[in-house]
């Protein structure tokens, strides 16, 4: 046998990764539901306030507004949900969830004190750096307010960093408006923020406007000058709101949106959420309209 051994591993070949036991990001952490808030009269949206059972892990949580978490009824499934809480408040994580599938239906059956699995934080979140010094307009429809609420509360906690804040929020009826304490009490009292609420159909107590979001937004006539607009809501609302924004003179670069796509791993591995070469779970869910227009139209 003839052999040559170069014992100095002096070169290109790097050592294979050692099989250390880093935490598997796909394995959820055990969390307890602290409180369940019925956000709407119809019961369609419930906000689950949850805390990781490991206090150190809960303390170590960090996320940006617009990022998502996976919440799981163990034994049923997992759902990727935009966090409704803000990282500027060290409280429980908030997942405002609409019952729409197996896991979210099962979650709606759950009560305070029960256990869920949670893992986070996923996605790019909002680029709050790029928003600094800008006037911000938040346009939300229905449960689309969830991720916006995280951002709005973040902006209020860092008030000096941003210009004027304008909230335009609509729902089918007054009872379907979510986060009532924020939209009716906390925000109107905060400095430098305009809260504009609208509903498709009013009721006896409703004194505000009765209008669809796009025409209502147009009637408010927000200026594109030095501002960015963030739009979250159901597809039809988005479609018409984009037309209105174009009419008002907003460019595609000024319009920020969040995408919803089926997700499973949340960490860019399972191959489920791509649009062209982008993964919504890594590169999204937040995109500017200009970025979206550069992607294949498949979402």
């Amino acid at each position: 046998m003839e052999t040559i051994l170069t014992t100095s591993a002096s070169g290109a070949a790097a050592a294979a990764p050692a099989p250390t036991l880093a935490r598997n990001p796909l394995v959820p952490l055990v969390a307890t539901i602290e409180k369940v808030i019925d956000e709407t009269d119809s019961g369609s949206v419930r906000n689950f306030l949850v805390r990781l059972d490991d206090p150190a892990a809960h303390e170590a949580i960090s996320y940006r507004p617009g990022q998502c978490g996976m919440i799981s009824v163990i034994g049923v499934g997992e759902s990727m949900i935009a966090l409704a809480s803000t990282p500027t408040h060290k409280g429980p994580l908030e997942f405002a969830v609409k019952a729409a599938g197996r896991n979210t239906n099962a979650l709606h059956e759950m009560k305070a004190g029960q256990k869920v699995g949670v893992r986070l934080a996923y996605g790019n979140g909002f680029d709050t750096e790029a928003m600094k010094g800008k006037d911000l307009i938040f346009v939300g429809g229905g449960i689309g307010m969830s991720g916006l609420r995280s951002l709005i509360n973040y902006c209020l906690d860092r008030r000096g960093d941003f210009g004027r804040l304008t909230v335009v929020y609509g729902a089918r009826s007054p009872g379907e408006l979510c986060f009532k304490e924020d939209i009716f009490e906390n925000w109107p009292k905060a400095p430098g923020i305009d809260v504009n609420l609208t509903v498709d159909v009013g009721d006896d107590q409703w004194k505000g406007p009765v209008a669809l979001i796009p025409p209502y937004l147009e009637s408010l006539n927000p200026s594109p000058q030095g501002s960015l607009v963030v739009v979250c809501g159901p597809p039809v609302m988005i479609r018409f709101t984009l037309l209105s924004l174009a009419k008002l003179g907003f460019t595609d670069e000024q319009i920020i949106m969040t995408l919803e796509l089926k997700m499973q791993c949340g960490i860019g591995k399972c191959g489920r959420c791509n649009i062209g070469s982008k993964y919504v779970c890594l590169d999204g869910p937040v995109f500017t309209l200009a970025e979206l227009k550069r992607l294949p139209n498949e979402y």
Binding site: A9, A12, A18, I74, V76, E260, I267, G268, C270, P296
Partner: protein
Amino acid sequence: MDATRITGASLGAARIPSGPLDKLAAAAARVAGDGALVFGPARDGSVWGWKLCEAADVPQSDLWERLVNTDVSPKELFMPRTEDIARWRDRLRNLSIAEPAAPPPVVVLGVRPCDAASFDLLDEVLIEGPFSDESYRRRRGATLLITWACGKTGPACACDAFGLAPAAAAGDLMVYPDGNELLLSALTPKGLEVLGDLTGGSTAGEALTGRVDAVAAALNAQKTAVGRRLALDDLTANAAGLTATLFSSDIWTELSPRCLSCGTCTYVCPTCYCFAINDEPRGGDGRRIRTWDSCQFKEFLSMAGGHNPRPSKVERVRQRFMHKLNYHPERYGKFLCVGCGRCIVSCPVGLHVAEVGEALSRAAAAAVSAAKGGE
């Protein structure tokens, strides 16, 4: 094309006679670590796949002269068809969630260069980036990969069309057939340890590395039948610029009707990695599993509200081939295909990466010349 994907850098070499490989397997198992399992090609009915070999049934080297490649890719050794992500207990009262035990070390004896290269592609997706797929990474890290260079190519082989070659260097230790002997060349410190264990550390002259280079170069010079007619470099060179054109090309409506949505192409493919996560409850206990999934299935992307961004075969076939030939090159600079030829052999309707690659490169060329003509 990235030449280092083909030539590699040898850390050391040895020469052994052809024939039984039990000593090589045993040396590799010792280096891989306590309790190492050795997997080699084996036939199950009419299908060649990968099986645990006991010392007595380690294949002999002539197997690699007869067998072009296994029907089933070795990816399942790192990403099993089904595996536990976690096990939970007492779901309702006192939930606890545990991860499975670390996998045992594994030696894979005699993967082909295309398959060895497929792991490098999977590593980039599954290990790198902001998150690591830990169960895959653990298996990969605990593995010693012995790669067997191809002395001849098969009718469906296409490595050279996808930036590789029949003796492209990948894995820990390369085996090159050389007449009645086998040349071994270590690509990693682990591979070097195997050589040391096998030979007792004896050393010889530079002539041997020279011989390794010469044999590797001769094997790498082989052209495959598919590679001779496919020229796909244009598709990687300007992937981002081509996305819109290729996405809206007519070829998808022309090619997709014959697809059966059977998913065979994705299951046999060493570089397809899509998976699903599901829960299997047994009373209050249970397990969360991940299983192979396929973008060719309608349910893959159907959402809770009923919306499906890829409702028909047009979108699904487009997704598979755009991912391999355009989206992945855009993100990683190379094809998500190693030209192993499995989809070429297995697709019941002949809708495979060579045919679609050819159609795409024609569409790309047409777009380029149309743009030139319009100037």
